[in-house]
Structures are given as C-alpha cells and as structure tokens.
C-alpha cells in the first residue's frame, strides 16, 4: 500500500464527514488565531517599551539629587520613590565627573525648568525648558531633524539660540519652517537654530515637548539657579559610558567622585543617586513580563477551549470511528494503514486549520496595530507554540482512540457502542 493511496483514503474520509472536519478545524483556528494575536500584542508592548528605554540614550548613567530608589518588586513597592533628602547637584559636580572619571563618551548636565512660556508671534505654549551642554544631544541620543545643534562656543558666549522639540515646533509654527525665526523663551528672545527628531515619551521628560538652550544662556535668561553657597545648580547629570560592559565601572567611579564632591564621610548615605539604564529595563521588563504572562494566560485559555473543541469532536465520533476502523480492518486494512490514515487526517486538518489560524491571528494583530494604540509583533515562537499545541491535541485525541480501536478484533470494533 503506497503512501499516496493511503493519503487518498484519508482525504476521502475527511471529505465524507465535512461537518466533523470543519468543526475540528474551527477549534484549531480559534486556538491558533487567539494565541498568535494575543502574544503579538504582549510582544509588541514589550518591544516598544524596551525601545523607548534604549532611546533614552545608549549606555546611560544618570545622577539625580537625593536618595531615589528604584525597585522591581511587587507592584506596591515598584517604581521611583520620592527623594528623601536633597542636596542639589551643581555644574561643578558635572565638571568633577568629566575631569576625574576616565573613558566617558560624554557628560551632560541639565537644568530643567518646567512651565516656561514659549512664544512665537501670537502663539504661546507652556513647555519645559532645558539648559544643556554641547554634549547633551550625543549623550541622550537626540537626533536633530532640521537645522543644527548648538556649538561649544555658543554655550560659552551664552548665545540666545534655541532648539525646539518636534511637538513644540509643530505647536508654535504649524507647517512653517522655524529655523532662523525668533521666539521668546520666558522673557528673552531666542533664534531657533534646530528642531529635534520625534522621540515619544521618554525617560526624564519628553524631549518632543521641550525647548533646549545652552546651559550658560539658561542661567542668564531663564533661571539663575544659584545654590545657598553660590554654586550653579543643575537638575540632573547624564553620563554616557563607552560600552554597556563599562557601565558598572562608571557607576562606581561616579559615585566615588560625587561622594568626594559632596564631602560625604565613610558610613554616611549618599545624598544623590546614580541610576543606570539596566535598572529601568529590569523594571519595565517585570511590568511587561506580567502583561505578557497575563495575555499568555488568556491565550492559553483560548488554546484550551480550542483544544477541548477538538477533543469533543474526536471523542463524540469515537463510536462511529471505532466501527469504521473495525470495518476497514475487516476488509483488509492493516493496523499501520489505519494509523497512517488517522495521522494524515489529523495533520491535514492541523495544517489547514493552523494556516487559517495564523492568517486570522496575523490579521487581528495587524488590525490592532493599525489602531495605533498598541504596537503588535507576531513572533515565530507563538505560531510554533499554537500550531504544535493543536497538532498535539489532534494527535492525542485522534490517534489514541484510533490506536485503541485498531487494536481490537475487527468484530469487536464493528459492534462497538
């Protein structure tokens, strides 16, 4: 008995019972489609959060004032705790890091001033002004979409130049070209020299709704930000390590320099916090991990429902199929031939059902993605998982009773009730 003839017998059997075949296939389609779609949402969310975190800047080490704790524990303790005790960071701290920590890509202090009125002609918006150094765009991975970034000399001279975030530029200028135009930041006039590439919500403020000006200019025009001792305050210091392997070393060195700068004695707690990107990734990972787990659980339930559907149909037809098997054996089918027939039937159903399931699942994922609310990423894993699960259910509930029936004496199978 050649395989092709056997295949033909299986297809004949499938076609002879279209309802049973169709319902089995439906179970597979539901299971596969829901797993593929749901896991694509979970993966999409995870990926977009991760990419936002990496977009903060490569190999970023951040110094913020006070004690900030980031934990990835249970939801109640998760997130960023409010600073406990504050001693401001100064531009001298940034200079000290720059001078005494070797092998850095850059050190970029930022003076953050919230709710600054920025105006162009009659257009007025309330956004965040960021006084930054020339290294800032490199350290924070900020691309200039239009115009240019400012130069070191412009910072030293406290030039009145400004770079707008993409949304801020849109809000002020609509479709017009902002480069070369004069805007007011607070009370001072500035010339727009650049617009940054859109980033989306990021860590430590959204660059898109910001205006960047040279740090020295910010001190003169927006906020003079002197501490009690007369030093110039900065809100945060961003430091970029050369590689991710180097981050731990940089974190250690920066902590050491900062403790010296702030004159903190042995055994006394830091009055600042050094954060690394790894910490954010691990928090985000634990949050999205929970989400993916949750979606995975729903998908698992759908698979189970689909599986039970397949199982039901297989079990309901056990009597009929047992009689069929007995009959086939009585007219000369070998046990092997019968099992091959059932194998071919199951695989055919799983392949056709699986293909439709994947198509539906991908379709749902694309639809959800097209709404723009959530990004979706269909992964091969989820497809393989779903299809192999359906195949396993089909094989188990199809082949197992078939094998049992084929092991009976033909007359017993024929009389099976």
């Amino acid at each position: 008995m050649n395989f092709l003839r056997n295949f033909g017998i299986a297809i004949d059997a499938l076609l002879a019972n279209k309802l049973r075949s169709g319902l089995t296939m439906l179970g597979i389609i539901i299971g596969v489609a829901s797993v593929v779609a749901l896991l694509s949402i979970g993966n999409g969310v995870q990926q977009s959060i991760n990419s936002q975190i990496t977009s903060i800047g490569t190999n970023l080490v951040t110094v913020v004032p006070g004690q900030v704790r980031i934990t990835a524990g249970p939801p109640s303790s998760q997130g960023i705790r409010a600073p406990t005790q504050t001693r401001p960071l100064t531009d001298a701290d940034a200079d000290a890091i720059r001078a005494r920590v070797p092998n850095l890509l850059g050190v970029a202090p930022e003076l953050t001033v919230n709710n600054v009125t920025v105006a162009y002609q009659r257009e007025r918006i309330l956004i965040t002004a960021r006084g930054v150094t020339v290294d800032y765009n490199r350290v924070r991975n900020l691309e200039v979409a239009q115009g240019r970034w400012f130069e070191a000399a412009e910072d030293e001279r406290a030039s009145r130049v400004a770079i707008l975030g993409s949304e801020a530029a849109d809000a002020l200028f609509g479709g017009l070209n902002p480069i070369g135009q004069t805007i007011r930041v607070g009370n001072a006039p500035f010339t727009v020299i650049g617009v940054t590439q859109p980033v989306g919500v990021g860590f430590a403020g959204n660059p898109d709704t910001s205006v960047f000006v040279p740090l020295q200019t910010a001190y003169r025009t927006i906020s003079n930000a002197r501490t009690a001792s007369g030093a110039r305050r900065v809100s945060v210091i961003f430091i970029s390590a050369l590689s991710s392997e180097d981050i731990a070393r940089v974190e250690r060195d920066v902590t050491e320099v900062m403790r010296q700068q702030h004159g903190i004695r042995e055994g006394v707690e830091d009055d600042f916090t050094v954060l690394t990107q790894q910490q954010f990734l691990s928090i985000a990972g634990s949050i999205t991990g929970i989400l993916t787990l949750f979606l995975g659980a729903i998908a698992g339930i759908s698979l189970l429902v689909g599986g039970i559907g397949i199982m039901n149909i297989m079990l309901v037809s056990v009597t009929e199929r047992t009689m069929e098997i007995g009959l086939r054996k009585a007219v000369g089918a070998k046990k092997r031939t019968i099992l091959t027939q059932f194998l071919v039937e199951t695989i055919t159903l799983s392949l056709i059902g699986g293909t439709f399931g994947i198509l539906f699942g991908v379709g749902i994922a694309l639809l959800v993605g097209a709404t723009g609310i959530i990004t979706t990423t269909v992964t091969l894993d989820s497809i393989i998982l779903a299809v192999s699960f359906s195949l396993a259910v089909g094989l188990f509930f199809g082949i197992y009773p078939a094998n049992r029936a084929a092991s009976l004496q033909p007359i017993e199978a024929v009389r099976y009730e």
Partner: protein
Amino acid sequence: MGELITSYPTTSPEPQRDDPPIIEAKDLTKVYKMGETEVHALRGVSLRIWKGEMVSVIGQSGSGKSTLLAILGALDVPTSGSYKLDGREVASLNDDQLAEIRNQRIGFVFQKFNLLARSTALANVALPLAYAGLSSREANRRATEMLKLVGLGDRLDHRPNQLSGGQQQRVAIARALVNQPSIILADEPTGNLDSATGKEIMGLFQKLHRERGITLIVVTHDPNIAAQSERIIRLKDGLIEYAEEVQTA
C-alpha cells in the same frame, strides 16, 4: 423449523476427501464476559470444511452462529480451541497476514451489513480494492461492475441511509465479492430481501460456487436456502447439534 429438526440425522457426515480441509476448527469456545456474568456463546465446536463446499449454518437465535462465523472469518479469536485456515493456525498470524487474508481470501457479509455510513455505495464496495492497492480508478470500475451485478447499477452514489434494507444488504454482498475471494462467509445474506431478490442473490452465490469453485458458508434461517447447500450444520446453545449431508435430487 421444528419439523426440520426431527427430520435430520444426528451424525456428522463429512465428505470423504483426500485433500486437506481449508477450514479446520477444533473445540472452539467463545466466552463473552460482561462484568460478573459470562456468556458461553460457543462451547466446543469442531468442524472441517473443504475447498468448494457449500455449507449452511442454522440454529435458533442466540445459538452462536454469528460468533462462529466471525471466528471462521478471522475477524475474532476463540477463547480456546484451535482454528486453522489453509493449515495455518490463525491465532499465530500477524497483523499483516490477517489483513491479507481478510482482504484477499475471505469475503464476509455481516448480518447487519456494516457499511460506512458516510460513504457512497460505490466507495463502500471499492474499499477492499483500495486496501488491495488498486488505483482508485480501477477500484471504482470494478466496484461499479459489482454493484451492477447485484442490481444496484443505478444507486452508485447513494449513501446507506438513502438505500432500502435490501439494497444495503446487496451493497454489503457486493463488497464481499468484489475482491474475488475464494471463501465467502455470509451471515443471513438474504434476511432482508424479498424472496425474488433473495433467490437472485443466492443464484449469484450458487453460480460463483459452481463456476469458480468458491467455498461458501451461509448462516441462514431459511430452510429453502439450507436445502440448496451440500451440508447443514445446526448449532444449539453453542454446540453442534448435528451436521447433515443434503441429498441432492
């Protein structure tokens, strides 16, 4: 049938032949276990049948006729006893050998027809040919021919539930004959047929028996059919009550 019983002798005549019997059963028993109770369907049946014989098996309902026939057809195994087909102990055959016997050597007509409910008459009759390895075209051609022979040439595409009882029985007969087996075991093949159709079917069996030397074992309640055979075996409560040679006129 009461009158038949009294008119038969109780000895067990066998044809005096030198060639070995093709069917040789010794002390066959069959016990069905149903929970606590046991049903002794066969309680020690011995018989020998030679090539080309036509034998009727008669007996009351529940006497073990179908049970015996299933064992002779290699569709079931006895609880004890020995059954040799063509000199080979059937219990010792493997799955492949049994499949070949069921496919090539024996044509079996079930008492309840046992057709594939969802397949057409044609597909049902072509099934043994598919397992014999014939191409589906050749199988369909032969099956069509066979169905024509049993008078169902115009019912090829009907499913069993679209056929009358007698028509279903004829499909079952066509299926048993289609692979040209040399032994036919038929469990009340005319039970659902009117006497004219029944005669026709028996005529077909007779013809195959005479012209091709087919061995025929028929379970029947019909004394007329029993009278057409060469030997009658009567079962009672799982035992052979007697066997008788029918005198040909």
